[in-house]
């Protein structure tokens, strides 16, 4: 989590005020998307699992049947759906970011020298 926020800040220092070429700009845009997605995912993880865990144990303690618990947790399951949506986005976005970074590094080595 800390590296996921501090790392991009270092990248912004590396970029400075230079937003001229599209190849590195694409890498920067995907990095921002991955960071935002990561922060959203972190919040979703915390929120959804905390709620599900607490509610399930509370209702189990109250003696509700398994079916009854499932029915009560229906709304929370919908929130879990958001987590599953996030799962679809974050991984591919991360690999997309890696691909653009490799493109940027390749260009820097090609034009700037090794």
């Amino acid at each position: 989590m800390v590296a996921g926020v501090l790392g991009p800040l270092v990248i912004f220092v590396h970029a400075g005020a230079h937003f001229h070429a599209w190849a590195p700009i694409l890498a920067l845009i995907t990095m921002v998307l991955v960071v935002v997605s990561g922060l959203v995912g972190q919040a979703l993880h915390y929120w959804v699992f905390q709620l599900l865990y607490e509610r399930r144990h509370q209702q189990d303690f109250e003696g509700l049947s398994e079916e009854g618990i499932e029915a009560h947790l229906h709304d929370l399951a919908l929130q879990e759906k958001a987590l599953r949506w996030w799962k679809c986005l974050h991984g591919p976005l991360t690999w997309s970011f890696v691909a653009f970074v490799l493109l940027h590094i390749g260009g820097a080595l090609f034009f700037g020298g090794m």
Partner: protein
């Protein structure tokens, strides 16, 4: 373990990524500056149209590429004697041009830094029609390294007169502080009152 709800999302993102990377690679020969350059070339190099004029693949901008245009003969024919001899010495010692010169900093940015920093940027050349530092300066070598002293000629006198008091020794080095955006006209504000 929670899985992905919509399996088509990942191929979609990878498809867009592949499309963008393919487009960048495909357009690179046609728009290399827009896709790869960290900034615009300076006023001095606006006639350069190909990255390959200065950059060698995986070697960067090499002195050999610079010398294809800026040879000792060219310096001798087109520069002041002190500038020509200074560069002839650099070329003979096979030193890197990048020690003093930078590029892609913008049209009006200085391309001479380090040992012989040009605080005016390229703006001074556009504004005064000077073609070389030595139009206004004498290059002097001493124990403390190379330094530029101001000449007393018609071009320097003209620049000082045009400044209406603002162009004084020690006060007009950084032209773009007042001539923002490379504008010749300067708006009056409090910042110039102490100049």
């Amino acid at each position: 373990m929670i899985g992905c709800l919509r399996p088509w999302v990942a191929p979609l993102i990878w498809g867009i990524t592949a499309l963008l990377i393919g487009t960048v690679v495909w357009l690179s020969p046609y728009y290399p500056e827009a896709l790869w350059a960290p900034g615009h070339l300076s006023r001095s190099h606006t006639d350069v149209t190909s990255c390959g004029s200065c950059h060698e693949p995986f070697r960067g901008p090499t002195p050999q590429q610079c010398l294809s245009c800026h040879s000792s003969q060219k310096f001798a024919a087109r520069s002041e004697p002190d500038v020509a001899s200074f560069h002839a010495d650099i070329i003979q010692k096979a030193q890197s041009c990048l020690t003093c010169h930078v590029e892609h900093q913008g049209v009006l940015a200085a391309i001479t830094t380090g040992l012989l920093n040009n605080p005016h940027g390229e703006f001074i050349f556009r504004a005064t029609a000077a073609t070389s530092c030595s139009d206004c300066h004498m290059m002097e070598s001493g124990d403390g390294g190379n330094r530029m002293s101001l000449l007393s000629n018609s071009m320097v006198s003209h620049i000082i007169e045009e400044g209406e008091g603002a162009h004084r020794i020690g006060h007009f080095a950084k032209c773009l502080n007042c001539h923002r955006g490379g504008q010749l006209d300067v708006e009056d504000d409090d910042e110039h009152e102490d100049d």
